[in-house]
């Protein structure tokens, strides 16, 4: 888990660098904590998300292990991010097509950075779908994402994001199967064995 946190923080650093250049202001990202849940036990309250509606950027990955990645921000945080980046003053209901696309890009940058860090460190490679954006409760998002009941595990990364001194918390969740988790752990062990 520690090694994984390390890898994701490398990714977070890369993501922050790309985001900073895109929005031309300082963006800082860190992954302070990683937790593994059985999806049955995922308690929306434990994540501090309550029954709030969440903005989610979804992307599927295939490779040495398969995962469905979800970048989750409470809806109002997602809006703050877009507002900070675009300087727009619209309300949640008005979050337009173009702004949703922006949220997708932000999610894509963060997800790609984490995955590319993993690819570099573990010497693996992935294939991925393009990101999509949706707004729903965590329960519904999980139900919609688990087409495959063989992905009963959820690896949750807590993400701290600072744009222009405004601090935003979000989560990056990977839905994994047991074999995928085993593969991931095997790759990490191999990596740890090398150093």
């Amino acid at each position: 888990m520690e090694a994984l946190t390390e890898i994701f923080n490398i990714g977070a650093g890369r993501a922050a660098a790309s985001l900073s250049s895109v929005v031309a202001s300082t963006v800082k990202l860190s992954v302070p904590r990683i937790e593994l849940y059985d999806i049955k036990d995922v308690d929306v309250d434990a994540l501090g998300l309550g029954h709030k509606r969440l903005g989610a950027v979804l992307q599927s990955y295939a490779g040495p292990f398969e995962a469905q990645a979800m970048l989750l921000f409470p809806e109002e945080n997602a809006l703050e991010i877009v507002r900070d980046m675009l300087g727009s003053t619209l309300s949640i209901e008005e979050l337009s097509e173009l702004e949703q696309e922006t949220m997708c890009e932000v999610g894509n940058i963060i997800l790609n950075a984490c995955l590319s860090a993993m690819a570099d460190v573990l010497g693996v490679s992935f294939e991925a779908t393009l990101p999509s954006y949706s707004i729903d409760s965590l329960g519904t998002l999980l139900r919609n994402s688990i087409e495959d009941p063989g992905q009963p595990l959820m690896l949750v990364l807590n993400i701290d994001m600072i744009i222009e001194r405004r601090n935003t918390q979000g989560f990056l969740a990977f839905l994994l199967s047991y074999p995928s988790l085993d593969m991931l752990m095997a790759h990490i062990d191999r990596f740890l064995g090398k150093i």
Binding site: S18, L98, S116, S125, P131
Partner: protein, 327 residues
């Protein structure tokens, strides 16, 4: 001759059709290989791009565009070729990032195409990586969105403005006051509220009629605006003949001066008011409440206290300014 094609003929047919399909599509397609050499450049691109050479096939993608390859696109291409990860460049963050022009629009100065770009990794034989850039023209959406946004702003403004006086309406005040209150609390700065009411307004209405009463409301609003510092943002029509002003960074002493200035400015308009029991002219009563918010204070308590101060001003004989006890 049979019109039915065998599977092999069909795939041959399809491979002949593909280049045509690529060229009739109404989006830009560029294929580059792992060395970042351009392998395909479709008609859509040819018709719109401002490139260094007419036919960029065989060139490195970095050298193709006038002004070079945008940084974000370079990173996205890296992600596709090195890691097999797809990316998107949203229009809102990147705008018209590539030098693509719609030569049909804008005459001598062709319009730059608003773009949304997808960068997609492909795998060839033996795992060689390729990358497709798919460029969509979203200019129409951008224009539509700008229009919708402008309309939304106008509607919002209308919903928050008092139609008669042009001041903020009650709803707008209810939204703004808590923000000012919280800011004063955060920054530990004084905050004052001024609530004022036109004296014997019902009697004026009965005597002079509705249209003239409306004119008085408009005149009072104009005078308030003219008397107050232009930088004071929150002046609202609070009720029928009641107005409210938020004075940020203003203590009790200064609020007293401003209250008196407002009272005098209305009296000095000298609008005749035959049925007023306190003056031959239209006058106002003014209530004041000032504080530096701390943990014990609340917006509602402050509103209640300024309301009480206004009541005292009325009770003491109108056309005067009264301050509240500390809320």
């Amino acid at each position: 001759m049979s019109s039915v094609l065998s599977p092999s003929e069909e795939s041959l047919h399809l491979s002949k059709m593909l280049p045509q399909i690529v060229n009739v599509m109404s989006l830009g397609l560029i294929l580059i290989d792992a060395q970042r050499t351009v392998l395909l450049w479709n008609n859509w691109m040819r018709q719109r791009s401002s490139v260094v050479v007419d036919d960029p096939i065989g060139m490195g993608i970095e050298a193709v565009f006038v002004g070079g390859l945008p940084n974000a696109l370079g990173i996205a291409i890296d992600n596709a070729l090195k890691y097999g990860l797809p990316s998107l460049l949203s229009n809102a963050l990147h705008g018209a990032v590539l030098p693509l022009f719609d030569y049909k629009k804008g005459g001598d100065q062709p319009e730059r195409v608003q773009q949304s770009i997808h960068v997609l990794p492909l795998k060839g034989d033996g795992g060689t990586r390729y990358c497709v850039l798919q460029i969509s023209d979203v200019s129409a959406s951008v224009v539509r969105e700008r229009k919708l946004r402008a309309q939304a702003e106008t509607l919002k403004e209308q919903a928050f403005t008092d139609g008669l006086t042009g001041l903020m309406n009650r709803r707008h005040f209810d939204e703004r006051f808590p923000l000012e209150f919280r800011r004063a609390k955060r920054q530990q700065t004084p905050l004052s509220l001024v609530m004022l009411d036109i004296d014997f307004f019902k009697a004026y209405n009965d005597q002079y009629g509705h249209p003239n009463a409306d004119k008085v409301l408009i005149a009072v609003a104009q005078t308030l605006r003219a008397t107050l510092d232009q930088s004071i943002e929150v002046i609202a029509r609070y009720g029928g003949e009641e107005f409210i002003v938020v004075l940020p960074d203003c203590n009790e002493h200064d609020a007293g001066h401003i209250g008196e200035k407002l009272r005098a400015s209305i009296e000095n308009m000298q609008i005749p008011h035959a049925t007023s029991q306190v003056s031959p002219y239209v006058t106002i009563s003014v209530g004041l409440s000032s504080l530096t918010p701390d943990v014990t204070s609340s917006e509602n308590l402050m509103l209640a206290s300024v309301d009480a101060a206004l009541y005292i001003a009325k009770h003491k004989g109108r056309n005067r300014v009264s301050s509240a006890a500390r809320p």
